[in-house]
Symmetry: C2
Subunit: 410 residues, 2 copies
């Protein structure tokens, strides 16, 4: 069997592919193919995902198809996204190796990634949050991932030659960016056949979003920032469904939307989804998802500043050591940078909240609430908070004030 041109794999051809690929077969072990267990688990919207478990090893094969899987061939989507996913998994994996699964193999023609299988009890973080499970190391781990991947791919560490080279490469992932532009920054604010919400309860709320000029002003600024500002190599889809966890392990997956964009888009995606989890609990604070927001952000800021201090004489060209040459000026610019990052994160986080309530893709946190009326009430609270946050984000001086606002809103 030849794999010299693209073809979607099935459970049978997958085994042939693994046999023909030493980087993969070595993980399974020779002559161990008879008892292989293969399971297709792509519950995402875009790809095939096969779990391959043998007696002496395991792996995951992820293959991108040239369209969005859940919609079908009517919504084409370049399979080149697999190239950007693999490239970012490797880059982010080199920067935060404990929190990104190892890539064993990438085949651009086949749009195929062979990577570590995140064995049980790894579960999707969102499912864990819905179930009310606590992950004691989660904030530390996510802060490590975000601080390192964002810092080291920004001009705080890159010289501008390296930065523009890297930006150039990821400009190629424009189709995936365009999908984000549409579903996050555009569709929720206009009539679109893709939008849905808990009807009829939220009909007026959805309409109010489409008629809110102040909200449209803010979303336009964020959309332009998303499209124009190459601040760091961001994951691009860092919600709680892109993180797999156990009590000890936190693994960030699925960076196919990655590109050089604003850092706040990643931080905001994560914070916004934590806030959604809070509102999905009907205002009860038993699981502490409100406090999770401040904990992760505070640790992230500390780690980020520590990296900055540590590498202030490094290759980064945004703040040159012979200009920012004393503690006073360094502290001044760091505080300013972090305040701007907070505001960007709150804005993008709010945008991500809003789109999950009145846009195309919803979240299990709310979907798992069976009764429509009760779900709508939770969603309305989250939506109102998201709208307030998007409009008022610049008034928040620290993450603590955001948590207070969450508690007041609920």
């Amino acid at each position: 069997m030849s794999f010299e041109e693209f073809k979607p794999l099935n459970e049978k051809s997958l085994v042939e592919y693994i046999k023909a690929t030493p980087a993969l077969s070595s993980k399974i072990g020779a002559d161990k193919y008879d008892d292989l267990v293969i399971k297709e688990v792509g519950d995402g919207n875009l790809n095939f995902v096969f779990i391959v478990v043998g007696s002496s090893g395991s792996l995951v094969i992820k293959q991108a198809l040239p369209y969005i899987r859940c919609i079908g061939e009517s919504w084409p989507m370049t399979k080149e996204r697999a190239y950007f996913e693999a490239t970012t998994l490797r880059k982010h994996g080199a920067l935060s190796p404990d929190h990104v699964p190892e890539v064993y193999h990438f085949d651009r023609t086949m749009a195929l990634i062979g990577m570590r299988y995140l064995e049980p009890p790894h579960t999707i973080l969102r499912k864990g949050l819905v179930a009310g499970i606590e992950y004691p190391n989660l904030a530390d781990h996510m802060a490590d991932y975000m601080a390192k991947t964002l810092f080291f791919t920004s001009l705080l560490y890159h010289d501008t030659t390296e930065h523009r080279r890297a930006v150039t490469e990821f400009c190629g992932n424009v189709e995936l960016c365009r999908l984000t532009e549409q579903v996050v920054f555009s569709d929720p604010y206009r009539v679109s056949t893709f939008n849905r919400w808990t009807s009829p309860y939220l009909d007026d709320d959805a309409k109010a979003v489409r008629e809110d000029s102040a909200l449209k002003l803010e979303i336009a600024e964020l959309k332009s920032m998303f499209c124009e500002r190459a601040q760091a190599l961001i994951h691009g889809d860092l919600h709680t469904g892109s993180v797999m966890v156990t009590q000890d392990s936190t693994q960030v997956i699925d960076p196919e939307f990655s590109f050089y964009g604003p850092m706040g888009f990643d931080i905001g995606a994560y914070l916004g989804n934590l806030i959604l989890a809070f509102f999905a609990q009907d205002g009860h604070t038993t699981h502490g998802n409100d406090r999770k927001v401040s904990t992760i952000f505070r640790i992230l800021i500390c780690m980020f500043i520590a990296l900055w201090d540590q590498h202030k004489d490094g290759p980064g060209e945004a703040y040159l050591a012979d200009i920012y040459n004393n503690d006073e000026v360094l502290k001044l610019v760091q505080e300013n940078y972090m305040r701007n990052l907070l505001h960007d994160s709150l804005g993008f986080g709010a945008a991500k909240m809003i789109r999950r309530i009145v846009g195309v893709a919803h979240v299990e946190d709310f979907e798992s609430i069976e009764e429509d009326k009760r779900r709508a009430d939770c969603e309305r609270s989250a939506l109102e908070f998201g709208k307030m946050l998007l409009k008022e984000r610049r008034k928040f001086k620290c993450i603590g004030e955001v948590v207070s606002a969450i508690q007041q809103q609920s």
Copy 2:
């Protein structure tokens, strides 16, 4: 003679080159080579520029050398800049054809552009301003050039696919961007062997710039915006020495620093240099360079908004017609966009003023003041105004307030 690999031309080989190149020889006319008058006039810092005038036609040949001409081979600089210059001359020329000289020929190997000779009485705008000459159409022409080149290469007109493609191409001009980063955003704020100023009069002033934490905070934000924000295809060096004028004609030349950057960098360069011209007149307002600042900016804003209104249903994806779907919301976002653009322009303009007084490259406006003490006094006023503008730019609600501030400072 072969021109298949790069070689610097001289007045003799230049004629051979023209003869061998129909796009150029057709401008001169056949058999007219005996009475050709060739003059090398590259008074810039980077290139050779030959004016070629025959009895039936004329042209200019501009050739980039692989180093900065005025410093020599010790400061290498890619000759690929000629590619970006030619590409932008053609792109901007298509958008504002009355204000960009026609390109007849481009040879990437030879880093050579053949283009329209801007015949006498065309003169460098800066020289005209120093001489106190009035150009009645200048503001209209420059507003036309800036409004059209910036609007049509931004996401107000581009879809994001076209935008990222174009951004990718111009990421290649990173070496020229790095030169700007150094001389505009870095060197004036640190000890650098390239810096110079009117010494000893401005010794303390230069030191004060290097010790001003608030100033360093602002210049860092602008540097990051310059490096990260791909808002439009900007000229990249739009000072009054990059414009040639007569009473009727205004021609923008030398876009070798062009790339996708913040619009405010172009507008600010032009405004900042007009403000420098004002301060070089020792505070006398006879030439009205203060009022020139408000006139050009107001016309620019009007033209820009008119283009936006005209193309609001066009391909641009920043403000989609079905979201910004009534006059109220459209006016709201336009005013916000223009206020941000004013603030960006004032910041970059201030940075350009400062660097012309304490950085490597100075301006004839001041240099033509022979007496050191008097020159230093003018420069100090301009420097103080630049510093104030950089720190306080967000407080200005309109360009009129800026002109009032100029008049108060002088």
